[in-house]
């Protein structure tokens, strides 16, 4: 009864949306198992053909699930970033994690240099660690330059500076060692083709951890949306929560970037898509943005594998094109009186 009196319709919508996104994810995951260079037959022959079973179980399954988790990480990070910075254009990479990760990978590639193909998995592991270290290092550098997390404008500006400077350094490394350029390209465009079960579990656990931590602080983001003074007047511990949420941002983007490279727009677009469907508090928004990001990246990844099969597109290219188109659509759909985005 009381539930109907308050915003029952909106929270019910949020719950329904969560259910729909989860159901779509399951459908798409099953579909994604059938997409790849050997086609859908591999799924049908899974029982009697060990090679087909291996393709589905060890290649398609982990990379599909990996795409889902990476998208989830980026989506929830986007919702946290937009809430924390009170800015709908905030992107989860805005504390410099993307260019930090890119620099880390460029350095690792330059050092590894002419490693024979046999050691590819070793290099891969090295690259993942380098990307993660680069991303987290860049966020720490941003925090140091902004002298803490309490001044959000300073934090944003420091993030821009770190992004530009580290990006330039990364380009410099590439210029000095042009032979790593091709490998670097794969990272910059984002790809899920290297995601194995280990990465899957790692991203899954980080995703769950970030959701729990961010979800537990969601009410602070609600209070913060009315302004810093109001949030403080409500007795909310802004300082502690900012530190926690910046950690969530660094961890989520660092993990996603390390496993799948730079995937554009998922973190920015997922929360916007959710908000265009339902008006709700940050508790739901963070969860739904995670689910939405997961679904978006899985869909983009499946599409990337299917569009020009048996070849595949880098998924980052698809998310950039689709995400850019969607943002433009959103910008033009909003009435001019509300000032667009």
């Amino acid at each position: 009864m009381m539930d109907q009196l308050r915003t029952g319709s909106q929270s019910r919508r949020a719950a329904v949306l969560a259910g729909v996104l989860a159901a779509l994810s399951v459908v798409l995951l099953v579909l994604a198992l059938g997409v790849g260079s050997t086609g859908f037959e591999s799924v049908l022959r899974i029982a009697d053909d060990p090679l087909a079973a291996q393709i589905v179980r060890d290649i398609r399954a982990p990379r599909s699930l990996g795409a889902w988790f990476a998208g989830g990480l980026l989506g929830l990070a986007g919702a946290v970033a937009q809430g924390l910075f009170r800015n709908p254009l905030a992107d989860p990479y805005l504390l410099g994690s993307a260019s930090g990760a890119a620099l880390g990978v460029a350095l690792a590639l330059a050092v590894a240099g002419s490693t024979p193909m046999a050691a590819e998995w070793l290099v891969r592991l090295g690259l993942t660690s380098a990307a993660f270290a680069g991303a987290v290092g860049a966020v720490l550098l941003t925090l140091a330059l902004a002298r803490g997390v309490q001044h959000t404008l300073r934090l944003l500006l420091a993030g821009v500076v770190v992004g530009v400077v580290l990006g330039a350094l990364g380009q410099l490394v590439l210029m000095l060692r042009p032979e790593v350029m091709l490998a670097m390209q794969a990272f910059s465009l984002g790809t899920t083709s290297f995601v194995g079960w280990t990465s899957c579990w790692l991203m899954g656990s980080v995703c769950l951890l970030c959701l729990l931590v961010a979800g537990a602080q969601a009410h602070v983001l609600d209070g913060l949306s009315l302004g810093e003074a109001t949030a403080v007047s409500l007795g909310l511990p802004l300082a502690r929560v900012r530190a926690l949420l910046v950690t969530v941002l660094a961890l989520a983007t660092g993990t996603a970037v390390a496993q799948t490279g730079l995937i554009a727009f998922v973190g920015l677009a997922a929360p916007h898509l959710v908000r265009s469907l339902v008006k709700t508090t940050h508790g739901y928004l963070i969860l739904l943005s995670g689910l939405m990001g997961a679904l978006l990246l899985l869909a983009a990844d499946t599409l990337a594998r299917w569009l020009i099969a048996p070849q595949e597109l880098p998924v980052g290219v698809l998310t950039a094109v689709l995400g850019g188109a969607y943002l433009l659509f959103l910008m033009h759909r909003r009435s001019p009186s509300r000032g667009g985005l």
């Binding site: 009196l5 009170r86 003074a229 109001t230 007047s233 409500l234 007795g235």
Partner: protein, 270 residues
């Protein structure tokens, strides 16, 4: 310093400021404000633009770093834990943007955060407080709409409901009448009088002098200093008002109320 905060015999003031100094950037905005705001009455801070009215209100709410002391209900603000303070003081800021994606209900429910345990769902008491607050500002019908869909005046009424939902002993409001049409200004007036009748303390910042004259007490602030603090109907208070506004208004009695009118150039030269 503490001596200035000691309650006067028998009763405790709602808010006491002693030698309050606030710097914003390189500017000192408040130059040692000392003030006692009595419980159970409506006090309005008035003064010219840039006098430091909003800054004073923020400092009283403990939202700004400041020198000097502020005491809330007899206890130094620094000694009161954030959560307890949030239960005792409700704050309504000026022209606050944001929150566009929250529903009206969710916004008002934010006012219950100081009373709710961490991660606890709202209790029936919280629901009741939010409903009462939303009905008091006639915002109840929009409870399922998002804040971004409302007009400026409607939005202000929802934010007012958010502050009311705290059910705090002391209510601080910065320009609460912004964007409100005359009927809703009258409603707000009634609401404040009802709160005061219940023994609550209301402190508001108003730029409209006629509205300010409706309150019980006036604090006349100019260039970061208190020029006068007295009953709004008292002639001394009116004189202080005329002084800080360069004699460019007239205060007249009309149907038993004091009203401020702009002074015409002809009157200025008499």
């Amino acid at each position: 310093m503490r001596a200035g905060l000691a309650p006067a015999a028998g009763h405790i003031d709602a808010l006491v400021a002693a030698s309050l100094r606030v710097r914003l950037g390189d500017n000192e905005v408040l130059h040692g404000v000392t003030l006692r705001i009595a419980q159970g009455c409506w006090t309005t801070i008035v003064g010219p633009n840039g006098a430091g009215k909003s800054t004073l209100l923020k400092a009283l709410a403990g939202l700004l770093p400041c020198q000097g002391e502020v005491a809330l209900l007899g206890r130094s603000l620094g000694d009161v834990r954030g959560r307890i303070r949030a239960q005792q003081i409700a704050w309504l800021g000026q022209g606050e943007g944001g929150g566009d994606d929250l529903t009206v209900w969710d916004v008002a429910m934010l006012g219950r955060l100081p009373h709710r345990a961490w991660l606890a769902a709202p209790s029936a008491q919280d629901d009741q407080a939010v409903e009462t607050a939303l009905r008091a500002t006639q915002a109840w019908d929009w409870r399922a709409r998002s804040l971004g869909q409302l007009s400026g005046g409607e939005r202000q009424r929802v934010l007012l409901a958010r502050a009311l939902a705290v059910q705090a002993q002391v209510l601080l409001m910065d320009e609460p009448l912004a964007n409100l049409d005359p009927p809703h200004q009258a409603d707000w007036l009634q609401l404040v009088r009802a709160l005061v009748a219940q023994g609550r303390t209301v402190v508001s910042v108003l730029h409209e002098v006629s509205m300010a004259l409706q309150s019980d007490m006036l604090v006349v602030l100019d260039r970061g200093e208190v020029r006068h603090h007295g009953a709004s109907s008292h002639p001394d208070t009116h004189a202080a008002l005329l002084a800080v506004f360069d004699q460019r208004l007239r205060i007249v009695a009309l149907h038993g109320q004091w009203v401020a009118l702009p002074a015409t150039p002809a009157q200025l030269h008499v």
